[in-house]
């Protein structure tokens, strides 16, 4: 047992720095915030003049997409820290952030397709730069797993994956700015250089949902990271036994 604790403890900083009570509070708070935001989106906020009721998907779809960008950015940042400092613990952190980002990516694509169907009458448009570039970012990070599982575990894999995650981060601002740079588009633009183009009540609901989903993303990240660290400690134990 002493060996298990000795090996696991350095990898289980989550227990000391971010213990189960804090993680549980974050998970509960973010879940309640998302539920409250959804209720506000359905029953309180006024319908948008152009799209009507279907615009309410915006309060779910856009915060999910922004959370996925945040996860990919976090994965790249952890990769950068690994390359910079050579600390292998950042490898699991980068991997977990990318994994959560891909889950939010799936949610972005699914909710976006539903919104496109009800607003434009189609599930997908290959002519829309914003959609295609988001798909490129998503597929780029999907191939991260193919790369990761094609290399034996160790320092080399950690470094290769870190550099790959950092490259992916370059695509995030390109994807975000695509809609603002495209000469022709049907994808709505809400946040411009003149600020948010919506009523205060809409912005409030958007803010509530964004805060809730960011919290949910952070909560999933912390939980999954704790599990991966325990799994990693167990594998190390077995290999040393």
């Amino acid at each position: 047992m002493t060996e298990l604790v000795a090996i696991a403890r350095p990898r289980l900083r989550v227990r000391t720095r971010w213990g189960p009570p804090a993680a549980a509070v974050l998970a509960a708070a973010s879940s309640i915030t998302v539920l409250a935001g959804s209720a506000l989106a359905f029953y309180w906020v006024p319908s948008e003049a152009d799209q009507g009721f279907s615009q309410r998907i915006f309060y779910l779809h856009v915060p999910i997409a922004l959370t996925s960008y945040a996860c990919f950015g976090a994965g790249a940042w952890k990769g950068f820290r690994l390359v910079q400092r050579g600390e292998l613990r950042h490898d699991l952190e980068s991997y977990t952030a990318v994994h959560i980002g891909v889950i939010f990516g799936v949610l972005t694509l699914v909710t976006g397709s539903i919104w496109a169907r009800v607003s434009w009458g189609i599930w997908w448009s290959w002519g829309e730069d914003q959609l295609v570039l988001y798909l490129v970012v998503f597929l780029f990070y999907c191939t991260y797993f193919m790369l990761r599982f094609s290399i034996d575990a160790g320092v080399r894999r950690a470094r290769v994956c870190a550099v790959y995650a950092m490259f992916g981060a370059v695509l995030v601002p390109v994807s975000f700015l695509a809609i603002r740079l495209a000469p022709r588009y049907i994808h709505p633009v809400v946040f411009t250089t003149h600020g948010a183009q919506m009523a205060r009540s809409m912005l409030l609901v958007f803010g509530v949902m964004f805060a809730g989903l960011l919290g949910l993303g952070a909560s999933l990240y912390r939980t999954e990271l704790a599990g991966r660290r325990i799994d990693h400690a167990l594998r190390t134990l077995r290999s040393e036994a």
Binding site: I57, I114, V118, A241
Partner: protein
Amino acid sequence: MTTAEKYVTAAYLVFLGIVLLYVVIYAGKVARLERDVTEAVERVPESRP
């Protein structure tokens, strides 16, 4: 229920469903980890000199 209301509801339900699916999959993984930790703890005294 209008068509728009159905699609909006579907989008929110899909979100909830995927998050719940993740939680279920992760619960399975946690259960496996719990078994592995128990097994590792049981083995430690045996391997000691």
